[in-house]
């Protein structure tokens, strides 16, 4: 019993030490960013915890209420509570960013690792593929995809994912090549470690770590791009409180009901900025 307590205590201490070490490496800006991301994560996973109301509840009589104690961020054209909508939109917006990044990453991993570690000819082919993917700007891809698949979050996510894939592929290829030819991988090989084992032990972890940083950054970017698609009417389906859709709907009232743009606009920029900042910090502290 006491032993268990002591053990738990030691774990707690260790956790605290680890946390403080993390805080130190993140720096003040990184810590603030991490906090922001944490709040957004809570909003995404447990929105009712932060905003118990219904984000789609319509009360036309209360339309366009400016921020007030009853509605901290005001209400929209249909009298829906903007704060509640922003909180409930976190899940979709963050999910959108994460899904797009996941798509981009998976494709990027295949292309990048294939190019870096496969035979020369494969590298040449994949590098061309990457170049061509680069040449199709994300919104162009998105327009096409939405034409094929219809509007909605799915196609937008897919489009942004596809558009970011070449970037990831290029980073991965460079990184994987550098690691694969690094002295420590050579050293391991000279110790008699086989190529696949060296890949799993060294190349993978050392390539993936900087990628986490880049991916963090990418999620923020993806959120922004998907929101841009909302402007062209290609984004999330109503009445979803996805931030880009909210921002776009509110944009028309920018002079009469400023809070309709400010709330989702800030949600997008602050979240994306926090993710970007965190990503940059992570890549800075990541062992190179």
């Amino acid at each position: 019993m006491t032993q268990a307590l002591a053990l738990a205590g030691r774990r707690r201490d260790a956790a605290r030490a680890a946390a403080s070490r993390w805080l130190r490496t993140l720096g003040p800006g990184g810590a603030v960013s991490a906090a922001v991301v944490a709040v957004v994560l809570v909003a995404a996973l447990l929105p009712t915890l932060l905003a118990p109301g219904d984000p789609t509840a319509v009360v036309p009589a209360q339309a366009y209420t400016p921020p007030s104690p009853g509605a901290v961020l005001g209400t929209d054209a249909s009298g829906r509570d903007v704060y509640t909508r922003v909180v409930h939109g976190a899940g979709q917006s963050l999910g959108v960013g994460a899904a797009a990044t996941a798509i981009g990453l998976s494709l990027g991993v295949v292309l990048g690792f294939g190019a870096a570690l496969g035979p020369r000819r494969l590298d040449a082919v994949l590098s061309r593929v990457v170049e061509v993917l680069f040449a199709l700007p994300s919104l162009v891809l998105a327009l096409l995809l939405v034409a094929v698949l219809g509007a909605g979050v799915g196609p937008s996510v897919l489009a942004v994912g596809l558009a970011t894939a070449p970037g990831y592929a290029r980073i991965l290829r460079a990184r994987a090549q550098a690691v694969a030819q690094s002295p420590y991988v050579r050293a391991a090989r000279l110790e008699g470690v086989s190529a696949p084992v060296a890949f799993v032990r060294h190349v993978l972890p050392n390539t993936v770590w900087p990628l986490i940083a880049v991916a963090t950054l990418g999620i923020g970017q993806a959120i922004v791009w998907v929101s841009a698609l909302s402007y062209l009417g290609l984004g999330a389906l109503p009445p979803s409180p996805e931030w880009g859709a909210m921002l776009n709907a509110g944009r028309l009232h920018i002079t009469t009901a400023w809070w309709l743009t400010v709330a989702p606009g800030l949600a997008i920029t602050v979240t994306a900025a926090a993710l970007t900042f965190l990503g940059r910090r992570l890549s800075a502290v990541a062992p190179a």
Partner: protein, 328 residues
């Protein structure tokens, strides 16, 4: 010899791009539904007669199997014959040619502004002395990140509301390529890109500014400004140049939004319209021009990088030679 090979490589890339564009667009728009003959005969919702549609199908080979149609389209695209727009009944080359200038002007000014902004931020950051200035640099850094994630349409809307609707200083709409008319849309495009370039450039500048060669320049009596302009900036510019290719792509993506927002004529808007009306030849034309423009800019960036950094010229050749076989 190597120049020739490099040139051939670029040409191959262009052909490859043409192929991919033709393939992607062709199948995407075919899968998107909507009968092409309808797009030709007055667009969606048209009530063209059966005979008219039959005639158009025959004329445009739309009654051939899809594979044959694809091959025909491919043959045209790869030889850069763009054909006529379905909906607008004008040669695609002409339509695209009309809009190209506007978009290029916008993207070029956007890129220029982004560079200037990034440069201003980065130089301010390395020249900051004293605690207050350093703190300001911290804010600047946060500003860069925020700028880099600004959605275009929001930023543009705010700019319009403030500068055009509110103050009336600049036109809200942008119809020609005069500086006055280009300024707001170009700023809208430039800010996010400047955020990125600024981060990269500042990192590079901070590193170069403390590098031994910068110190050596100081030991020769160089002032901070001299070190900045003659040494550090060139180093900091390298990653920024490399990023400019990407930035240009991002500007073209942004142009789709910004041209609609400011009512500017341009490729982005043309593309949106063409996609909506399933105007296959026009979409292919626009996407092709955008993609080739991107390849061209990448090429220019490549060359520019080599101009700024002579080390890269050798690296290409060195990379081309087989390295020593290491346990493999």
């Amino acid at each position: 010899m190597t120049v020739l090979r490099w040139l051939l490589g670029r040409l191959a890339a262009a052909a490859l791009v043409a192929w991919v564009v033709a393939t992607v667009v062709f199948f995407a728009l075919r899968a998107a539904g909507g009968d092409p003959s309808e797009a030709i005969l007055g667009g969606p919702g048209s009530q063209a007669s059966e005979e008219a549609m039959a005639r158009v199908r025959a004329e445009y080979a739309l009654d051939e199997p899809l594979v044959v149609q694809y091959l025909l389209q491919l043959a045209r695209t790869v030889t850069f014959q763009l054909g006529d727009s379905y909906a607008r009944r004008r040669p695609v080359a002409e339509l695209v040619g009309d809009q190209l200038g506007g978009t290029l002007a916008l993207a070029a000014l956007g890129l220029l502004l982004a560079w200037l902004l990034a440069l201003a931020v980065a130089t301010a950051a390395v020249r900051a002395r004293g605690p207050v200035a350093r703190r300001a640099v911290g804010l600047l850094r946060a500003g860069e990140v925020v700028a880099s994630v600004m959605p275009h349409f929001w930023l543009g809307a705010v700019l319009i509301a403030v500068f055009a609707g509110g103050a009336g200083w600049l036109p809200a709409t942008s119809s020609d390529n005069s500086l006055r008319s280009l300024l707001l849309p170009a700023i809208t495009l430039a800010v996010p890109v400047a955020g990125f370039l600024g981060q990269v450039m500042r990192d590079g500048l901070e590193e170069a500014h403390t590098a031994p060669f910068a110190t050596t320049a100081r030991t020769r009596g160089a002032s901070e400004a001299w070190v900045l302009w003659r040494h550090s900036l060139r180093h900091a510019a390298l990653p920024a140049i490399a990023l400019s290719g990407w930035a240009f792509g991002s500007l073209l993506s942004g142009a789709v939004v910004v041209e609609t927002l400011f009512g500017r004529p341009g490729l982005g808007r043309l593309l949106v319209d063409a996609t909506h009306s399933r105007d296959v030849p026009l979409v292919i034309g626009v996407v092709l021009v955008i993609a080739l423009g991107y390849v061209a800019v990448m090429t220019v960036a490549d060359v520019l990088e080599r101009v700024v950094d002579p080390r890269l010229r050798e690296r290409v050749e060195a990379a081309a030679t087989p390295g020593g076989e290491v346990v493999a």
